[in-house]
Point group: C2
Chain length 150, copies 2
DNA sequence: GTCCATGCAAACTGTTTGCACGCGC
DNA sequence: GCGCGTGCAAACAGTTTGCATGGAC
């Protein structure tokens, strides 16, 4: 059911396969985390690639469109990108230190399907996102303030 | 378990109860939908309130902090605000026309509690958000292109 | 009277766009 | 070689901030 998640997907969708697009996708696929556009740009610069930030944005939009990458907001004002995973997962972000914990939750897809059917809509994207404080930050906090609730 | 959701919450939390704060909360609580900061500002202007956009933002941040309003990203780059609901609900946004459908999903809170326990973290906020195409847009789309998948 | 909250304008961040050139096909 | 993709710089949107004044308590 999932596409092959290769750069070839681009060509199939009728887009040109440029060096820049290849590079951006490579960075994203080879990184574990959730990169912001600027971080991708910086990494490309570090490896002396000739690319502009505008192209990074344009490429991300394209890769998102063809389903090779996903964007998450993670509670911040700017986007975070990751390679489209084989099976869906979601994110918890710590407001204290910014740490991200990923988790699976198959129920959510069932929920989406159910909602889709009931409302007669088509759900193309599912975002589930928790935020709060991780175990480490909870500890630090309670040490400072004497309670767990900020 | 839920606070009384009144402006008094502000004073209890040690903040001053100004006219501007009162007005912003009023606008949000009296509107059904999900307002953006600018829209709140515009409505206040319409009713000849003397307030600046900066204050709207500062007030929203404060109301969010004390739990009187919630912010959602709804897949757009800018925030949307609504009054903290008595019982949690989530959002579907249509990429075509922007329509928002709200839905309840009690399972999600259970999921959050479970995650919280398993990871030893504290979850303070839960966001579930679908996007896709509403029934109307699906129809228009298939009329134009002959298929349902953009 | 004290100090927090506000207005204003300027700064800032993340993202998008117009246009001329360059490169994939 | 045709036309999409790119770099560059400038524009843009939403949001935040510094500072002097005003109002809640």
């Amino acid at each position: 059911m999932y596409p092959e998640h290769s750069i070839e997907t681009l060509r199939i969708a009728g887009h040109r396969l440029t060096q820049q697009r290849r590079l951006v996708l490579e960075i994203i696929q080879h990184s574990q985390g959730h990169l912001e556009a600027d971080e991708i740009y910086r990494r490309l610069k570090d490896q002396h690639a000739h690319i502009s930030l505008a192209t990074v944005y344009r490429t991300l939009a394209l890769l998102k469109e063809v389903g090779l990458v996903q964007e998450h907001s993670l509670g911040q004002s700017h986007g975070h990108f990751e390679a489209a995973p084989a099976s869906p997962h979601y994110h918890f972000t710590c407001r204290g230190c910014g740490k991200v914990i990923e988790f699976a939750a198959p129920q959510v897809m069932a929920l989406a399907r159910h909602f889709q059917k009931r409302e007669g809509v088509r759900v193309t994207d599912v975002h589930l996102f928790f935020d709060g404080f991780c175990a480490d930050c909870l500890q630090t906090q309670s040490a400072q303030t004497g309670r767990n609730n900020p």
